[in-house]
């Protein structure tokens, strides 16, 4: 059982709860691989995606997960809703409540928005990524993928490479990985390492060559062009020269090291095409696992798997 009916971040979950979600995702993945990918578990439930930032990937993944579980779905995106007309989150939440929503997946550029939403609505709230805070379902699918490939997470050395400062994926991964007993390293330019991150129990590296020595997993983060405009590094070219995951750098890791990327990839910037398409890359698998993990979550949160 999960203690809360919301999933706001992995910081709030225990190791047991995380493992429960991962365990529940195993049979869900089997459902996806069937010819008829539909179970009636969540029939009659309404799942709404509320996206203040565009992300076809995450939204589609949640919608598929809901549909495979038999739920109805609706989506509200910035371009189509009244958000652009200045409707407040509170107003939107009240509308969603009136529609009889059972679960809301919110993606927002402002950290803390999912928590704010829980104050306005009875439905389960799932954080689909809030600012630089957390992206728990991405981390859950990363954990699922690692566990599937490596058998366990305990004792693994995992490097998270890139813009740690702005990355909610990095933060959720750090919480999840450390709770499950992995050794976490973060590596990136000093301007993209957030202050105090070592207090979360991770090792900080600036040189990618140092960080990748002997690791089992490398999670490569997407670099946003706007960070360069804000003067956090001089150019994408220089970034690639220093941090791009190339086959040579990959060879510093363990021979069977797994490469993850939350996508979409900037090939030739943070990851070289050769690595992205190599056998060590689990990028495609991550997409499938994302649906499975989200099915598991919806089941646990609105299918009767919480204490509340």
């Amino acid at each position: 059982m999960l203690k809360s009916k919301h999933l706001l971040g992995l910081k709030d979950l225990t190791a047991e709860e995380i493992e429960l979600i991962l365990d529940t995702a195993v049979p869900m993945k089997e459902i996806i691989q069937r010819d008829i990918k539909k179970v009636p578990t969540l029939r009659g439930k309404l799942v709404v995606t509320l996206f203040y930032e565009p992300s076809t990937r995450t939204r589609t993944s949640f919608e598929l997960a809901a549909k495979y579980m038999g739920a109805d779905t609706a989506s509200i995106a910035t371009s189509t809703s009244s958000i652009t007309k200045g409707e407040s989150l509170r107003d939107t939440a009240e509308t969603l409540a009136a529609m009889g929503t059972d679960a809301v997946i919110i993606r927002h550029s402002a950290a803390g928005s999912p928590l704010l939403l829980t104050r306005y609505i009875q439905a389960s709230v799932i954080n689909g990524g809030d600012g630089m805070h957390e992206h728990p379902t991405q981390a859950l699918l990363d954990l699922f993928t690692i566990r599937e490939k490596k058998g366990t997470i305990r004792g693994l050395k995992v490097a998270i490479l890139g813009d740690i400062l702005h990355s909610r994926v990095a933060r959720s991964n750090i919480w999840g990985l450390t709770k499950l007993g992995a050794e976490v390293r973060v590596v990136g330019p000093p301007t993209l390492i957030p202050p105090g991150i070592e207090k979360l129990g991770v090792k900080v590296f600036y040189r990618v060559e140092d960080a990748l020595q002997g690791v089992d997993v490398i999670n490569v983060l997407r670099i946003q062009r706007e960070r360069q405009k804000r003067g956090l590094f001089p150019s994408l070219r220089e970034y690639a020269l220093l941090y791009e995951l190339t086959p040579e750098r990959l060879r510093l890791a363990k021979p069977d090291a797994l490469v993850l990327h939350p996508g979409p990839m900037n090939r030739g910037v943070e990851i070289s095409p050769a690595v992205a398409d190599s056998l060590q890359s689990a990028v495609r698998e991550q997409v499938t696992n994302g649906v499975a993990v989200r099915m598991a979550l919806l089941y646990l949160l609105i299918g009767g798997g919480t204490q509340q």
Partner: protein
């Protein structure tokens, strides 16, 4: 009208007085201050045994919002909040709409205070035209109309040349220049203190350096010009250290700190409560402790609230989108009593100095003492009275306080302004 405050413990640092005695007010002035004063039939007698009787508290940093932002606060509601909180006077910042950058706006504010104010209001004029930090405002005009200081509070003066000229030119009027120290480039679009908490919460950080580099610059310019520099709402340990050194060198510098920077740290941001979003931001325990020490030791001269009311719907939004500021007038005194005086970190005498004597001296306004013959501005505090904070009961229109629900001790129970009883037992009488 006569008022007799009977049996209180009078603390008046200006007279080096700390003793139980009676205080008689006649025609707006302190008429007698001694033991065993008899009351005649027309005297209102207030039994204040067990209470602290102090010269009226002056909050030299508030935002009354009028004119222009009456949805946030008005002079009527803001001065009632002040009276309820035990303040007999406030200095109001010029970032109104229009900006108080000319005599006419100052005159308008003073007229509105005459019509609807409950406590004394000392307007602060803008340092630059439109608070844009480019050209000096007409400072003579402002002073003539009644401004007691100049400041571009809320809009830091980024141009060092403009700050230099303001400090230089203001010497002509012997008024303080109040500086909101913030390097806008370093603060960037941050919303909270930069540190482990901003990392965990995923909110953009404002490094302490954003304040410190401007404190350093302004202290250097104060040295260059001989102007009177007053540093608003210090938030950083290094700022306190720089002020200490500047005072040792004999610079004319004073500084203030807010109750919220003394009583909260960035951990209060954890629930994304937008009432914790203030500028400068709540910093970590090291900074907080250094500020408290600086206040107790006399490096920091003044407690001021930076009372910054906002309408409920403006704050009921995502943390990133909320405006900066919290209200402070109605919680300042019990907060500081509970967190600093009761814990032995600040003496009662020092509390009266930083809330009354020092602001009166810096702004060169009446008050700050209960000497016989001075204006009868009086604050009475019941040190034992314990009560819960209820924002819904605030006189201020602004309910943006993170202290809602806190149990605090040491509430103001009487406020007298110019001999007029304006607050009793927390209730504003006008």
């Amino acid at each position: 009208m006569k008022i007799l405050l009977r049996g209180g413990r009078v603390i008046d640092p200006a007279q080096n007085l700390e003793d139980v005695c009676d205080l008689l007010v006649v025609d707006g002035r302190v008429a007698a201050l001694e033991k065993g004063i008899e009351a005649d039939g027309e005297t209102k007698v207030l039994d204040v045994e067990g209470c602290i009787v102090a010269p009226g508290f002056i909050d030299m940093h508030v935002h009354l919002r009028e004119p222009g932002y009456e949805q946030k606060e008005t002079i009527a509601t803001g001065t009632r909040a002040a009276a309820a909180g035990g303040f007999t006077a406030v200095a109001c910042m010029p970032n109104t709409q229009p900006v108080a950058d000319c005599g006419a706006v100052i005159a308008y504010i003073r007229e509105r205070v005459r019509q609807s104010g409950v406590v004394r209001v000392y307007p602060v004029g803008a340092l630059s035209k439109g608070c844009k930090g480019e050209e000096l405002a007409e400072i003579r005009d402002l002073v003539e109309a009644g401004a007691v200081a100049i400041s571009d509070d809320g809009r830091p003066v980024m141009n060092g040349e403009v700050m230099r000229r303001a400090l230089e030119y203001s010497r002509l009027f012997d008024i303080p220049v109040i500086s909101h120290c913030e390097d806008l480039h370093l603060a960037a679009d941050g919303v909270m203190h930069e540190g482990i908490m901003s990392t965990v919460l995923g909110l953009r950080g404002i490094p302490a350096a954003a304040e410190e580099v401007m404190v350093a610059r302004d202290l250097i310019l104060a040295g260059l010009t001989g102007g009177r520099l007053h540093l608003a709402h210090l938030s950083s340990a290094a700022s306190v250290e720089m002020v200490r050194q500047a005072k040792e060198r004999g610079l004319k510098v004073t500084a203030e700190v807010t109750p919220h920077h003394l009583c909260l740290t960035d951990e209060a941001v954890a629930g994304y409560d937008t009432s914790t979003k203030v500028n400068p931001p709540l910093r970590d325990e090291g900074h907080r402790a250094a500020l408290a020490e600086g206040l107790a030791e006399g490096v920091i001269d003044v407690l001021a609230t930076d009372h910054a009311p906002h309408a409920e719907e403006e704050k009921d939004v995502e943390y990133d989108l909320a405006p900066f500021g919290m209200v402070g007038l109605e919680t300042a005194v019990p907060l500081v009593v509970t967190k600093l005086v009761k814990t032995g970190r600040l003496s009662w005498r020092r509390l009266v100095e930083v809330f009354s004597l020092q602001p009166a001296r810096i702004l060169k306004v009446p008050g700050g003492t209960l000497a016989v013959g001075s204006a009868a501005d009086i604050t009475v505090i019941n040190p034992e009275l314990e009560r819960e904070v209820h924002v819904s009961r605030f006189y201020s229109q602004g309910k943006n306080s993170p202290f809602n629900g806190w149990r605090l001790q040491g509430w103001p129970v009487v406020t007298v302004v110019g001999g007029r009883l304006v607050m009793e037992e927390g209730k504003v009488l006008v």
